[in-house]
Symmetry: C2
Subunit: 202 residues, 2 copies
DNA sequence: TTATTATGTTTACACTGCAAACATTAGTTT
DNA sequence: AAACTAATGTTTGCAGTGTAAACATAATAA
């Protein structure tokens, strides 16, 4: 006779959800498939996540925490180095954890403020970016620092989106001229150089 | 006795899908709801769209065509004016047609090259952007023009994403400091000024 | 010990994508 | 004109989905 109650189902569901999300994409992550993969009844997850969006929010929160961790690894005295390292880690995360990335920065969760822990994790990440930008530039005006930070984020986020399109595309498409794919492929091949120029323009 | 065959169902399904997508978001756009709203049997759309993704692709294609249209309106001799106009139209489209925008630039359709008409429409838009950038800058090196084009798109796309987050958020959140929302709100209030500075940095 | 609460299961409903079998119409060939 | 074929519609059916409601059991508080 197996034990009726589980004990730490919530944590197990969450780690399982993270794995499934990354493996199959968040659109395939269903509450029922999650339950099945966790060997628990179909509707058991509802005791821990009131809606599917709440599950999404939990997965996204983990994503922000992970991303924060890798982005704040570099603690050099050279601020430029830190910024470049953060940028690389960001891109790497976006490409390696692309499905979780979608959840974090897509529109599946419309309003972050409905999920306080998610909101906090996302803001912490922004604060990291902002101080990296502030340290690197010699800007003092707070509004300009904000603007530069948003600029930087927007650009690198857009870049991740394009690099992912590049990954998705069949390789023979790379030879079709007059296509953004060709352009993004060139950047992809010299990402370090690109990032150098990127940083200079901040 | 009502007519069995419809005649131009495909076109009607498409316009209906566009409307529904914009109204409810593409995640709510189902083949069955589309059939119902078009007063036709549940599975009738399958005669015209083999899969749901094919329907998505058709909607996205229309989106690219529309966006191309508004972005290529401005035909001034002043290339800077054209570029700014295109940028504004892009942002406006992204904010007003945000659900279609998701379909166009999100990950719902993984590989554009599977849908030739979509691929062509998207490329046409890129070509417009690229020539606008080329005309504005005095850059001659083709690779640098490509890079500037990608840069420009990435940044403005990221900006649209952030402006949308701003729209989604309850207004009292605007007062919480140390939040990207505050920063993006400042940009939003002076979008023209922002775009001026934006263009200068291309 | 008993009452309450947290957490699990079962059942049920309305919805989804899509395949298969069937019906009707339009277009083409004889 | 008649007959065959292809295109386009309907009906039926299956497996999967989110989530609400009723029920069962275990952990905790009184």
């Amino acid at each position: 006779m197996k034990s009726y109650h589980h004990g730490n189902l919530k944590k197990e569901l969450l780690t399982c959800a993270l794995k499934m999300c990354e493996r199959d994409g968040y659109t395939k992550l269903s509450i029922r498939s999650l339950a099945k993969e966790s060997n628990v009844s179909q509707t058991a997850p509802y005791r821990h996540f009131k809606t599917k969006e709440e599950l999404y929010a939990a997965v996204a929160t983990e994503g922000f925490n992970k991303l924060y961790k890798v982005m704040s690894k570099s603690k050099s005295q050279d601020h430029k180095k830190n910024l470049i390292s953060s940028g690389k880690e960001y891109i790497n995360f976006g490409l390696k954890n692309s499905n979780t990335y979608d959840l974090m920065f897509g529109t599946a969760i419309a309003d972050f403020t409905k999920y306080p822990t998610l909101f906090i994790s996302a803001n912490k990440l922004y604060q990291h970016l902002r101080s990296a930008v502030a340290n690197h530039s010699n800007e003092k005006d707070q509004d300009r620092i904000d603007e530069k930070s948003i600029d930087t984020w927007a650009k690198i986020h857009g870049l991740v989106g394009l690099l992912r399109k590049l990954q998705a595309v069949p390789s023979k498409v790379l030879k079709i001229p007059d296509t953004p794919i060709v352009a993004i492929n060139k950047i992809s091949k010299d990402l370090d150089g690109y990032l150098e120029r990127f940083i200079e323009k901040i």
